[in-house]
Amino acid sequence: MRGFVDNLGLAFNTLRGNPLRSLLTLLGIVIGAATVVAMMSLVEGFRISVNKDLEGLGAGSFQVQKWPATFGHVDRAKYAKRPDLTREQGDALRSLPHVGHVSIEAYHGGRPEKISTRDRATKPNVTVGGGVPDYQFANAITIAQGRFFTDTDIALGGRVAVVGADVADVLFPGESGVGKEIRIRSTPFTVVGVAERRGSTLGGSQDGWVIIPLDPYYQVLGRVTNHNIAIQATAPEYFNQAQDEVIARLRSIRGLRGLQENDFDIYSNETLTGTFNQFAGVVAAATFAVTLLALVVGGIGVMNIMLVSVAERTREIGVRMALGARRRRILSQFVIEAVTLSLLGGVLGVLLGGGGAILAREVWSIPASVPAWAVLLSLLSASGAGIVFGIYPAIRASRLDPVEAMRTE
């Protein structure tokens, strides 16, 4: 152990002696470590973001959509040909034994609206959705003030609305919005509930929305024929049964038979997470390929510099041997030097990659979170490169003949 500490001291002396040369040598390792940390920070950040988004779906809930939920390329033409999911199809699912809540939702492709009161108005950035009372359960909406709208509200004409926390902040600062009137495209609605704040993910707020019943939605914002249907099983353990029942019922009312593919997509937290993880895996694989390459390039740099170092210090090695250094001791001196060098590169890379990720988050609101395991992995692989590529020069050093070595200049 004492020998190790002494060797470590020697290693740092060498680095101090040739700072520029050491730094240039380390470039490959620095780039490798920085790549791993930066890429993994981005993937990790997105993962956290996506998971937070998915919490929006209530427990034991799943979504039925015409459009698939995937990352990356989607063949839009294929899905556009699918028939719409109608309100009637949604209603037909209510009678299924393990289906608890059926939330039929209408959006105009997420086009934002401006919401106003007599005194104030939001920016035109509010998502307005049409829904049914079950919306609250299938989407896990918690009401802070008032209540969600009910079947009675709808029966009475239904110009009611539940608003997200951001909308309430803008329109009703410092007071309760319950019972107040808001206007959507000049049509008045009465606010019956204000939702609890959900916070923001992926750099965007999750609280800029208004939900109104479906019929007024069609009247004010225009008829839509395709709907999202969110379903909550009667209990979380019936999740699979509920999903099977829904698929069977939808296939039958949409006229699918036998081996025909479903013309709708079902996804839940689990399937979305799976899809995302697939995407993350591809990114990770690509990152590892880049990193491996950088490590090999960096490692060759380390080997090169260590060979130079051994050649330059041949006389010193001879002296050390004459004074009683065993060959193994010389070997470990140079291996430790190589590892110290590479580890320094790893640390620089981690600082660079992690710093870059944090900068991206703070300055451009790109979700990034530096995972500890990526830092550890970078440092370990940097050290590994040091050992692998430092061993050959170290062996050469340890095999020198002391008499010959002391004769060199």
């Binding site: 004492r2 050390r320 041997m321 004459a322 009683g324």
Partner: protein, 249 residues
């Protein structure tokens, strides 16, 4: 019963292959050195004295014969044991000093103790003492290039002494020094001899050998003379005034 010699060299040979030809650098050398002796090994270049020095210093292994130092049969030792032997039994002083240029005098002197595995504190204490003993207490944080030639050789001698070895092995220690500085170094060896150190001094200078109580002359890999320094030094060399009139053979 007499005391066992510190060094016992018996019929030692060292052959090298140079191309197809075999060079007999050492060709059957035998002698003993007792504890506390100061012995010069003299000879022309090519006489085999460097080879002998490397063998006695355990830096090289012989082709034949035997060599014992302080009870160790050197020709039977492994690589690691040889390293330990150099560390514990031998203090080297080289013509070109062989100091580590990037380390301070103190760090240089500590080096043998590093390989002995001593704790930092003890290393430092002993190195400081060794530097004091050679009169360099005020230069210990200087690097070799900040020291004069004589001072560098003193650092090297301190490094040789620090491990308290049984043998001080000096190879042309004045070869890179001017005559006044060389004289200082030889006087330092004289003091060390007075204090009981065993010294083997390899030199091509008869003048130096003449100052040693005993000298061994090598020629073509063989011992051709072994006796009082002044006598051996005068053999085959320009005669020098002998400090012991009438002692010449």
């Amino acid at each position: 019963m007499t005391e066992a010699p510190l060094i016992s060299v018996e019929n030692l040979t060292r052959h090298y292959k140079v191309g197809e030809e075999e060079v007999r650098a050492l060709d059957g050398v035998s002698f003993d050195v007792m504890r506390g002796e100061w012995v010069a090994v003299v000879g022309q270049s090519g006489s085999g004295k460097s080879t002998l020095m490397n063998l006695i210093g355990a830096l090289d292994t012989p082709s034949g014969g035997s060599y014992r130092i302080n009870g160790h049969d050197v020709e039977k030792l492994s690589d690691d044991q040889l390293a330990d032997l150099r560390n514990n039994e031998i203090g080297f002083v080289f013509q070109t000093f062989q100091l580590l240029s990037r380390s301070t005098a103190l760090a240089n002197v500590e080096l043998p103790l590093v390989y002995r595995g001593l704790p930092r504190k003890e290393r430092k204490e002993r190195a400081v003492k060794a530097l004091e003993a050679v009169g360099l207490a005020n230069r210990m944080h200087h690097k070799p290039n900040e020291l004069s030639g004589g001072q560098r050789q003193r650092v090297a001698i301190a490094r040789a002494l620090v491990g308290n070895p049984s043998l001080l092995l000096a190879d042309e220690p004045t070869g890179n020094l001017d005559s006044a500085t060389g004289e200082e170094i030889i006087r330092l060896f004289g003091e060390l001899h007075q204090r009981g150190h065993t010294i083997l001094l390899v030199t091509h200078e008869p003048r130096l050998a003449a100052r040693c109580p005993r000298a061994i002359r090598l020629s073509d890999g063989k011992v051709v003379a072994d006796g009082p320094g002044a006598d051996v030094a005068s053999l085959g060399a320009p005669p020098v005034p002998s400090p012991h009139p009438g002692a010449a053979a």
